[in-house]
Assembly symmetry: D2
Homo-oligomer: 385 residues x 4
């Protein structure tokens, strides 16, 4: 297949230059679902670009009969973030202009004044496909009002314009995959919405974080939350309905690094997922291990982050993936002073047990800066998620 | 009076150095109210430091019989912000570590799981003073749980530690004044909470923004919102109660500038307010013009900000304080390109009428960057606030 | 005249986007000199873009018989600098990647291993025009070796690539004008090379700084210094020769501001200069005041900068253009502390007399940060420059 | 031994807070040489702090008879750099205020107008010890004039003040060791001045870079260059003289990391060096391997840095320490575009052979950003240094 490639301007700069995103659209012979994938929304998180590069290579080699529906791919989806530098480092997690996290700016239909409960009541006699079409129409109609604001003389902040372009590509998708990495250093895992756990296995990753609470206005949330809300309202009305719509954030490896293993796992998982979703037909897929794949889920509320109790230099820190018991040493802090005392070593131990899943890239910390993160298992007796 | 001066450490840095805030406490001969004033929470907004300096001078010259109660003053209340530089400029509005706005981090009792409505029901037979004491006890008790988190091995992010120190100074105050300036360029005005409009006149400023909506977790909100919520609940229970607690954000002048007029107006207004509140006794105060002072209030939701519709250079912009009619030219944008066209001029006109109250310091703008702000008057027929 | 407009790519970014500069070339009917003008090399210094815009308007309205030779114009000549933001401010004086000042990166033929003295000896029998042609050939030949480095597998730092593009446009020009502004706040003046003082009057500015010493690798220096060196060598060989080549840095107004007066003076001066150089024929020009225009020159080594002796807040500072006497108050510093003392006021007075020509935009200063600059007159008895 | 610990203020900040450096001085029972060690001059280069911590521990356990002379230790010698953050990263290589590299600001006596050649001529009849004393007096005398500038009303830029404090600690030392790390990722090596190669073996590192050219105004240069210049002048005057003065920059590991191996090697090498210089007496030291230690030296001019020929994402890069042959693949670049083309892979091969000694931390690069560094061996036939 040869993709249709189109560029969309996202920013016109003071210098007269422009920044764009480029979309690679693969369309199969037969109609079907639409998958939307993007990478590098945060500037330092580059692994997904190589994943998308390999997917473009892969899809280009396939025959159009091997794809039902269409797959849209957007590498480097946030040029401001990707190109931002502070010294040699990629500081592109926040917009340097207004401090906003690039992944907390998206438009969430559920947060508008629209009444999803009232809508649900009007749909009780309809088939799921009709309900879905009607709800999508509503979302798209509301979304179009954003364009008026963008084109008004008073304009809108850049992030409002940017999100409009990005979300206009995916609001009608069936499956959305947003490829991130750790800002710091991590292993590969995914974020999963509640009630979508079953599909997670296709990605063939060992760990998942279950979104039992939300950050708010993240890309994955903005896509799926309205639909989850509608499902809930229909269930309340005793018309339980499930839409085959999914949204995933994959966390592949570490910031500023192009880890080859993470790229491999990302490509393998996405390929397997798209076959699992019956969009792609590839010999040997879904991989045989899919059936037995166990994803260990941790509640998002059970992520425990450790912050430096004093300023200092981190040493003797536990390794990624270590399973620690309560009270075990997590790291030592070499603490300096300007009060005429010798430097000292401070031991920081685990409050509770868990798996070390994230480590700060920077081992110099001011008081209150981030050192590491644990995934804490649920209390015994309770199922983990 | 000689103030008691104390320093509180707010951050221990990787280098072993520390940052502190210094509190100047003036205590009158007789008991009375407590006023808490701070300045420079955002790094570029320095005018308040000079205001506090002059208040220290003024109070030092007074006799302790001229003060009932106590006045606490904290200049440079956010050393991280004050000292932060990017090239020669003060970029200290956001924490460069996590992108957070330094004035959106505060602890708001109303947002905890505490049930203010339920509390109100238990207080129906009590006098306002007793209710106030009971509610303050609740707030302080809850606040103390933050200390445990701070002292836990897992620590807390810096902003949690910082807000704890700052709010521990003011939670039991009667009057809180947080002195800001525009990030950009502005005239002097204040933010006023609904139901506290009457006291605003003491500050002798011509314009006020009425908080008919909140930014969330700002310093002034964090102090007063729980009390407003309690007043509301008591009113619902047919026991309308009004506590003499007030919280003000003064906006004095422009960022990075020490405008002498703004300093003068800040000192005059605060002095007049504290006399008006019967804390200070100063000959000639309250000033005679206080009685006739008219503050024109604009609803916060009626602030209209203009963002650049294209990247470019701003020219021919209206001046601060201009009253514009709908359709009038606000500014021109010199728009460059890299597509082989001549540069062009784009006119941007007012969508609706209003007063120009804020102008971007930087006249180079990427698309979606801020250019100016208008205060829009309410529709005719409606009272302005 | 209609300009030829061409875009030159200067940077391909990690995201796949590119940055370019756009050149507007006006060519007269008759051959003649070449003038090269650029603006906004430092990100905050935007006035020159409006100057160039008005020059494009002006030249477009002229007939091609009114221009002898050609005029090349490059607005926004450094997109990285123009678009760079830290909070709302233009921090684009230094490359955030490597800390280099964007105007200290240029290629200076005089600093290569080429021997200008030896070359001069070979030219003693030639006419100035021939010498000029021969020397320019040498410069251009050497310059082309830079291209090989740029295209080598090991590549070159961005600034090497960037300067190559920019200097390739101007090395063969006769007159180079680089339009800057103060990083901070200033009035309008120019930088003038020694021996070129006579032409300065055409710009109709009252003040000039004479380059009796160099910063090194600045754009204006990189163009003219080799020619000044050749003139010197020829003079040593008793063949005094003067080439009609000039290089000017105009300093128009303040950073981040589009001051209309500065734009006006910039356009007027450049127009007058180009007529004075007999490139343009415009009725009424050169302006009648040119003949009597006095430029007061100050030696570059007589610029005196004042830096904060303590951290603090600047107040009561002298105004731009004030002529101060030795010992006169320049500014006061409000100095805070964390040692339990009251704040204090520190007076800073002039070490020697001079004209206040530059003021820091930011009135908050850490110890050793810039507060203001004076142009000091030469000692009595000596001519000022 | 118990060290004398003293704090020196280096900066008073706008907020009223101060930054200091803390010096740990160990003094032996018997007089002898003075060694000065500092760490963390660049903000991200933290390994040396742990090295100094271990040296403090070690020296504290020694008896004062085991030290002849004195050892001064300064961890976190640049608090501005150590505490600087951009997002989670240590961006403290450049001063964010003026773009200066913190290790290119030091005062170099050789660059003053003092005439070392003339001085040498006056010393021909003297013993080396007397010459040394006389020259040091000259240096110190000149250095004291800096203090006058610092204390003048016009003040000095922060870096002038800072360097004064730091250099006042070491100008009279015999041995200076400045502990750095790579900004990026590297193995352990050292910088060595020409004629001091013999002592390098004590540090027990395998690689050294020989300073056959200088960066200018670096800390190690500022200390030793005047003495090297004096040695050269005396040699020219046929009085070859060698002073036992040495200056080392150790490069231990990678930026933002506290690599335990690098800490170990740093402590071992410094301990061994100080014993080798007969300042310390420690059983078992100098280590037996010292005698046979071979340091492979590379000329500084033979460092070859590779910069991205296009913007892109680095993948398949060679590992640290790899010995590459000419033409061998060094890395691949995944190059994106916004022109409607598929992404592509660009191979970058070695121009010449060498050892891969440094890798960019960030694998996302704009065009002209740094990717890796090679140490190139001298041409066959020539000795390596």
């Amino acid at each position: 297949m040869i993709p249709e490639i189109s560029s969309l301007e996202i920013a016109h700069l003071a210098s007269g230059d422009t920044l764009s995103i480029q979309v690679y659209k693969f369309r199969g012979k037969n109609p079907g679902q639409k998958a939307y994938l993007q990478a590098n929304l945060h500037g330092a998180e580059i692994v997904g670009n190589a994943v998308i590069y390999q997917l473009i290579e892969l899809l280009s080699e396939l025959d159009e009969t091997q794809l039902d529906g269409e797959i849209w791919l957007v590498p480097a989806c946030n040029p401001f973030g990707t190109n931002q530098r502070s010294h040699h480092f990629s500081s592109g997690r926040y917009n340097p202009y207004d401090g906003q996290d690039w992944n907390r700016i998206f438009w969430d239909y559920e947060k508008t004044e629209e009444d999803i409960a009232a809508f649900a009541k009007t749909q009780l006699d309809l088939e799921p496909d009709e309900i879905r079409k009607n709800f999508l129409d509503r979302i798209l109609q509301k979304f179009q009002t954003l364009r008026q604001e963008i084109e008004s003389p008073s304009g809108v902040p850049y992030s409002d314009r940017y999100r409009y372009v990005l979300q206009s590509l995916c609001l009608d998708a069936d499956y959305v995959i947003d490829i991130h990495s750790s800002t710091n250093r991590s292993f590969d895992y995914l974020y999963c919405f509640q009630t979508r756990e079953e599909s997670a296995k296709y990605f063939l990753l060992n760990y998942g974080i279950l979104l039992n609470e939300y950050d708010g206005d993240a890309f994955d949330e903005a896509f799926l939350k309205p639909w989850l809300a509608l499902e809930l309202e229909l269930t309340k009305l005793e018309k339980p309905t499930f839409f085959d719509l999914e949204s995933w954030t994959l966390e592949l490896g570490s910031g500023m690094e192009m880890n080859a293993d993470s790229v491999y796992r990302g490509v393998r998982g996405i390929k397997n997922y798209l076959v699992g979703k019956e969009m792609l037909k590839i010999s040997g897929f879904p991989l045989v291990q899919t059936a037995s794949q166990k994803v260990e889920f941790f509640r998002k509320s059970h992520i425990k982050k450790y912050y430096a109790p004093r300023g200092g230099l981190v040493r003797s820190r536990v390794l990624l993936g270590t399973i620690v018991k309560p009270g075990k040493l997590l790291y030592q802090l070499l603490v300096l002073n300007k009060t005429g005392e010798p430097p000292e070593i401070l031991d920081v131990c685990a409050e509770r047990g868990g798996i070390v899943f994230d480590l700060s890239t920077n081992q110099a910390v001011n008081q209150g800066e981030y050192v590491l993160g644990l995934l804490e298992r649920a209390e015994s007796g309770a199922a983990n998620p």
